[in-house]
Symmetry: D2
Subunit: 344 residues, 4 copies
Amino acid sequence: MPHDEQFASDNYAGICPEAWDFMARANTQDASAYGEDPWTQMAADRLRETFESDCEVFFVFNGTAANSLSLAAMCQSFHSVICHELAHVETDECGGPEYASNGSKLLVGDGPNGKLTPESIERLVTRRTDIHYPKPRVITLTQSTEVGTLYTVEELKAIREVADRYGLRIHMDGARFANAVAALDVSPAEITWKAGVDVLCFSGTKNGLAVGEAILFFNRQLAEDFEWRCKQAGQLASKMRFISAPWCGLLENDAWLKNAQHANACAARLEEGIRQLDGVELCFPRQANAVFVDLPEAVQTELRARGWHFYTFIGGAARFVCSWSSTPERIDELVKDIAAASAA
Amino acid sequence: MPHDEQFASDNYAGICPEAWDFMARANTQDASAYGEDPWTQMAADRLRETFESDCEVFFVFNGTAANSLSLAAMCQSFHSVICHELAHVETDECGGPEYASNGSKLLVGDGPNGKLTPESIERLVTRRTDIHYPKPRVITLTQSTEVGTLYTVEELKAIREVADRYGLRIHMDGARFANAVAALDVSPAEITWKAGVDVLCFSGTKNGLAVGEAILFFNRQLAEDFEWRCKQAGQLASKMRFISAPWCGLLENDAWLKNAQHANACAARLEEGIRQLDGVELCFPRQANAVFVDLPEAVQTELRARGWHFYTFIGGAARFVCSWSSTPERIDELVKDIAAASAA
Amino acid sequence: MPHDEQFASDNYAGICPEAWDFMARANTQDASAYGEDPWTQMAADRLRETFESDCEVFFVFNGTAANSLSLAAMCQSFHSVICHELAHVETDECGGPEYASNGSKLLVGDGPNGKLTPESIERLVTRRTDIHYPKPRVITLTQSTEVGTLYTVEELKAIREVADRYGLRIHMDGARFANAVAALDVSPAEITWKAGVDVLCFSGTKNGLAVGEAILFFNRQLAEDFEWRCKQAGQLASKMRFISAPWCGLLENDAWLKNAQHANACAARLEEGIRQLDGVELCFPRQANAVFVDLPEAVQTELRARGWHFYTFIGGAARFVCSWSSTPERIDELVKDIAAASAA
Amino acid sequence: MPHDEQFASDNYAGICPEAWDFMARANTQDASAYGEDPWTQMAADRLRETFESDCEVFFVFNGTAANSLSLAAMCQSFHSVICHELAHVETDECGGPEYASNGSKLLVGDGPNGKLTPESIERLVTRRTDIHYPKPRVITLTQSTEVGTLYTVEELKAIREVADRYGLRIHMDGARFANAVAALDVSPAEITWKAGVDVLCFSGTKNGLAVGEAILFFNRQLAEDFEWRCKQAGQLASKMRFISAPWCGLLENDAWLKNAQHANACAARLEEGIRQLDGVELCFPRQANAVFVDLPEAVQTELRARGWHFYTFIGGAARFVCSWSSTPERIDELVKDIAAASAA
């Protein structure tokens, strides 16, 4: 049975055809190592065009590295980073940011639907200013969030205002950035640098690559000597073209956006199906490619027995994530099984 | 002109067919992330068979990470690591080991042909024992070395004796480990754990992968919780199967060994060609897949003008490295051009 | 007016006479540096006698260093340390533990009166076991706590049981350890190693020294090469005797215990005085040398205007801390002023 | 026999009378912690006067910390620090700088008499510019050097020129800075910021304190948030006044300079005495308070048997260091014993 593991996470999906095609093209001959190849140049240039910005672009292997190294570039070890209590950097990176920064503390804020509010940020900044408290220097936002919701342009701008007031920088964890762009129907520029984002980690892996995230520094000063940081941290690929060429595949003809639109549409179809079911509730507004459903433990067990894969989120909700490889047929089957398991 | 960049380094080569094939196979359906997939299990098992050892196996993205993280697991920040003055960890990893270990100093030893001698190691251990000097805890050896030479089984055992005398652990940087096995015509077990190696970093990238190194802990105690270390350091691939499945390709039917034998044979052909040339000398014994040639700067410039790629090594020698993708035709052309450039 | 800053913290007090006397004795002639002097030997030996244990003893400069370095010795960067949400390591060391350990995350638990409960610890250990969550390895307890309360021997043993169940080590932040011993009327051994504590940071500074904390490893294995760690971290005093000789002063004739008893008695007197006041409530049981009082902001402002020094704690309470240098006269004056300010 | 350990190092000496006196004064009443006391303000102001500079001033516990933290503030983990092969940071701090900076490599240069030459620095900067080599960012100079010699103002300015050419910052390890000022007979300003030094670590311990080094940032930008760095690294003294008040003692009436002049004069007397001895040679020009003598191992053994303390330096020379507490009588006795032991 193909695709039998879909819905657990968008990183369970494979390599999308456009990425595969460019990987094959890059493999027709030898090429210079460490990013000194034409594919890497091309991928960076296309990202700059896509974001309408002369930003600095770097490629690293995975999301934890992208977040950790870019945050380390945005502050010192004795500074702190403000994040939502559900942020991936806080809950799922095993101390990666603290390791890369040699000790920057994460200060945990809150807000409904997985989104930091300006008030929560301000509270963390102003409650103490003594030297026993690590000085806040960065705000990190996940777009779309860990619970599949979205920051609007207005919400981002309101956070930028707080940031400006207290001299903070804004980092965006874009593990599902493509899904956010697709869902908000805005340009990449509008929800990043035009809304005050200094640095974006743009995930290729969850969008259809085998491996490889792009880090975009719209605030170019923060990128000073960043290539050395990547090298030292074991994040400089020798055969870089096998990260960058697939990125070219994603960027050509907007495959990245189509992949995201497809995943979002699949999640919308799942949401719609679930809304038809009596007594089954969503936990968060479904806005991008993830659907969080309040299912009793017994129902979740039954679904797993039927071969479905999904995560149980903090608090007990079932999380279903759609990807470029999700299919309407399987979604409909899933809805049917949720109905059956819930009825039992 | 295909393959026009060959000889600069074995990481200029692409993905070998066996690896490509398994990557394609792994892409036929979704799979669990973070190594919980059948390919990763299979790759680890095949490595254990290949090394006749129930060792612990981990996969990381690149060689700097493999070296840095495994060394960090073998000592504490206030310990030191003994390496040859030409060792990659000392000269080409931008402080990666010091970063991952949070400060372990590299103590630089020496020995002819890029190989640490037992005497040099002993000297570094015994010259001081006070607490102002970071306590030696690990010896790291590169096999084959940075100048393309080999440690014999006997040499390794002699180093093991010193290690035992002073309570040191032995790490092997196997960026070109396959080439060493092929050249020495020994089993992988014989030149690793049977000769006293505690931990091996076995490079897949230089052998024909897009990305991905295996770390083998023969001393299993040193591997305690190492998966957490990888995760924290941004070295846990979410789509791990795209590293491990290609490894299965390398390991099936000994493709890894054939790739190495081919590269070594190409280097031997190059050596032979050069030996015919009057007044052109090798700098080090050619033992694996690298050939170091004493060429005047003007000759090197001329060769580059003719489109050849190679590194100029410390001291001025030209370094030519062969890979799985090298071809006899190009080697013969290279020899001809060296002859012509040298005669000019 | 002498002592006008007392009550803000016990580190506002000066050097007690016994410590001063030994500092003077140590200054009568030259001595070997870096702890190779007779005073350091004597101080370590007396600590071993006092604790009835052949523990390993090290001296460092301050409490943040003592906590950070000992915690770093008890786990790896990818492990985590369980602490109370009010713990000094979490709230007041500016990321010191994360810095020294290169990234170990603090997991924040809770419990009434500033004390971690076994249940809270167990919850943090069992809620997740995946590699995206830093593996719990250490529990840190503050004795007496940040709110001036005490862990009883029974409470410590109950926590040791949880620790044993999950392979955790126990660290004790003894910034006010002397006050705890004095208040509980137990032997130092009984509330440390006999109750399952592996490592104790015993503060000398808050007890009457100018500078200098002792770290005691009852679990001697954890102390392996710890002297190198101190050296590397800038915590090895060259003129060590000026830390260790004053410690001898504290340990001779139990001056450390008398200092603590005095401070506790002063706090008891303050508590008693406040209990006489209508409408003024304590926030936590007064058990050692700190008194937390629920005073309106206006009252606190008035007290400060009258020249009193104290901290306003999280939540708004006024914290008064007594030390070896506190005097009954000033306490009575303080009570009178609290009465007057509250009545206004 | 008093002072029987003198000559091993200037950190074998005790606390000088002026420092002791101010320590006593600071102990007459309670004072605010963490540097918010009048002594710390006074000490910083007097340092600014002494250096004729509105520099930023911080106090830390010891020299390893002062060097490590200030170097960490001057570069990033992937940068490198150029030092002389005999520099204390390289040979005697157990990886302290690498630890505090989270991995900055020390690049080892050379030059006669323990002094880095501009040529040696330039060679290290220009030999490689690729990202596998940590980018040079700081030069560190020891004044007076580890072999007791001095950088002249002209030599410093020549190094500043190289620094400017390559965008490097200059750090001065002033473990024996006072001795250099005394010996060169220049103002502190002239051999620091006027000669291009960005940051100075000025040792109080070797000059007569129990503990405590001052870090002066003439380049104030480099001091941004440095107080947080000190706090995080466990280098913020709670009872700071017991570091700063003794500094006031050193600075009042130029006690620091007199202490240094005395130590230098003692070393000159020792030099003179030794010059009278046939067949006994100095290893380096005696310029400050240290005398390096080429003595056979047997002679050194004999001297130790007679109760003398001194270090045997790399290469075998005997190192004698004078301090504020050295006495002419003991120097003359030492000379006599060297004569006797050499004649035997």
